[in-house]
């Protein structure tokens, strides 16, 4: 019997377990998946939890429900990977040997990377919404907040779901409007990048949204520290931004397990072949989702496209065939713009988001790079799709793993 071990039962790990269980011969392969938590969180829902749009129940479920019965599910923290010995060590000291390893341990926030961030004001006047705890604490804060300066801030790139902070600012605008207190709230968006939207076409098409919603923008802000006593963030160029309520996305890093095992880059991401998803250092180790160092967006939709290609490549690897160099960085994201509307963007390593229709060329029903109610319905339906199709590894009809250029208004790319 051979062993295929999956580390992490989040979006990517759960999808891989579901894909592989029906593809690997049961007599020859035992599949094992390991995760430290019982709960599977719907992370895209963390954007909506602070505004009371989703309830806590809608964003978490028992993880075991989504793991096929034939897969061995170990609920324990992973201590170490020993790639030279083809073994992992669990917290209890137990060894689990593998023939093939899939790393799907994701990324998480590291607020202690920035001085003063997770100090005495953490979850008092400084919040994140990238964790269940943070999003819930922020919801309670917003319910009673009387207004003032709201600063929505990105510490450092890359972060998962890079548009989520901007969506947060848009949703905050409509949240305070509905509460009849928008005039008491000043919203500023602070980013280390050159603009709120980083790709030129998206900037051109979308900058009006910030103006329309009266959201101020501070760009090229590389945070040095949070002065929590005087309530301001300070960057290396000594620019200061004052806040009453700071909603920040702290530095995102791969799990410390990757660092302990000596397998990561500066941010604990696993160096991975961007087209095949094989790790660069070990042939029988593959990586998927947020845990990789791919120059693609860290998003559930990206992991979904990767999973289809990785499944193929694992089967090829077992047969001793050459791996397919197929992954193109395809990402497909809804961007919530508030007031019941959303945008849709579709892009990859080489094509930036453009206007057009999706998934049917010329028909839609979804409009690329344009605000609409249908897109918002799409974003809301994504939660159902996530729990019922995506993590179960069911192919989403009409949407291919590699990006399609049909129906898009493409211009020459350099």
């Amino acid at each position: 019997m051979k062993n295929l071990v999956i580390l992490g039962a989040g979006t990517s790990g759960t999808m891989m377990a579901n894909h592989l269980v029906s593809k690997l011969p049961k007599k020859e392969w035992q599949i094992t998946i390991v995760d430290q938590y019982k709960t599977h969180y719907y992370q895209p829902g963390f954007l909506f939890l602070p505004f009371d749009i989703y309830t806590t129940k809608q964003v978490k479920k028992n993880g075991k429900k989504f793991i096929p019965k034939a897969v061995d599910y170990i609920q324990e923290k992973i201590e170490l990977i020993l790639p030279e010995d083809n073994t992992i060590i669990l917290e209890s000291g137990k060894n689990v040997p593998y023939d093939i390893l899939i790393i799907a341990t994701g990324t998480k926030i590291a607020p202690d990377e920035i001085e003063g961030m997770d100090g005495p004001e953490w979850y008092k006047s400084i919040f994140d919404f990238y964790t269940y705890e943070g999003a819930k604490a922020l919801r309670d804060k917003l319910r009673e907040w009387k207004g003032g300066k709201l600063v929505v801030h990105i510490s450092e790139m890359p972060i998962k779901c890079p548009v989520a902070p901007l969506e947060f600012a848009f949703l905050a605008d409509s949240y305070f409007k509905h509460k009849g207190m928008r005039d008491k709230v000043d919203i500023t968006f602070v980013t280390p990048l050159g603009g709120a939207f980083t790709k030129p076409k998206a900037t051109k098409a979308l900058h009006y949204l910030l103006e329309e919603k009266g959201i101020k923008e501070v760009t090229d802000f590389a945070i040095e520290r949070v002065d929590y006593e005087n309530k301001k963030i300070i960057d290396y160029a000594d620019t200061e931004v004052e806040y009453d309520l700071l909603v920040t996305v702290p530095t995102n890093m791969g799990d410390a397990l990757i660092e302990r095992s000596g397998m990561g880059d500066d941010l604990n991401y696993v160096p991975t072949n961007k087209a095949t998803l094989q790790s660069l250092d070990h042939q029988n180790i593959f990586a998927i989702g947020d845990a990789t160092n791919l120059p693609a967006s860290k998003a559930g939709s990206v992991a979904h496209f990767e999973a289809e290609i990785l499944t193929d490549n694992i089967l090829r690897f077992i047969k001793g065939e050459e791996l397919k160099e197929e992954f193109d960085g395809h990402a497909n994201c809804f961007i919530e713009t508030g007031n019941g509307k959303a945008l849709l963007i579709d892009f990859n390593y080489t094509h930036e988001p453009v206007e057009g229709t999706f998934p049917f060329p010329g028909v839609g029903p979804l409009n690329l790079l344009k605000e609409s109610r249908t897109n918002h319905m799409g974003k809301m339906a994504f939660r159902w799709v996530y729990w019922n199709m995506l993590i179960k590894g069911i192919h989403i009809p009409f949407v291919s793993a590699t990006m399609s250029t049909k129906g898009k208004h493409l211009e020459e790319v350099e």
């Binding site: 050159g194 939207f197 980083t198 290396y236």
Partner: protein
């Protein structure tokens, strides 16, 4: 786009970044720095050499990478290249502006 700098014609993109590194020389480098309001010192050269080396090894450039470089700390990096230090230093070094994913 073409641009004449220090009596030499070079190829640059819309933002003024060299598109062909083989055209880069120390004189051109000093002229670009000058246009950015920077007067090159020993320290500037050390940093420029460091980021060129990173670029040649295909290693992505970031503020975090600079912090760990051992060559310079971020405060000094900002004081040497005021404004957007990575953007300015890469332009002066003749390499592409660091990419940021959406």
């Amino acid at each position: 786009m073409r641009k004449i700098i220090s009596q030499t014609e070079i190829e640059v993109n819309e933002e003024g970044y060299l598109t062909n590194f083989s055209q880069w020389t120390e004189e051109i480098c000093e002229c670009i720095a000058d246009e950015q309001g920077i007067c090159m010192t020993e320290r500037h050269w050390e940093v420029i050499k460091y980021i060129q080396e990173k670029h040649n090894n295909d290693e992505p450039l970031s503020i975090r990478g600079i912090k760990k470089s051992g060559v310079i700390d971020i405060k000094e990096f900002y004081s040497l290249f005021p404004g957007g230090p990575l953007k300015k230093a890469t332009m002066i070094a003749g390499i592409p502006k660091p990419k940021s994913c959406i």
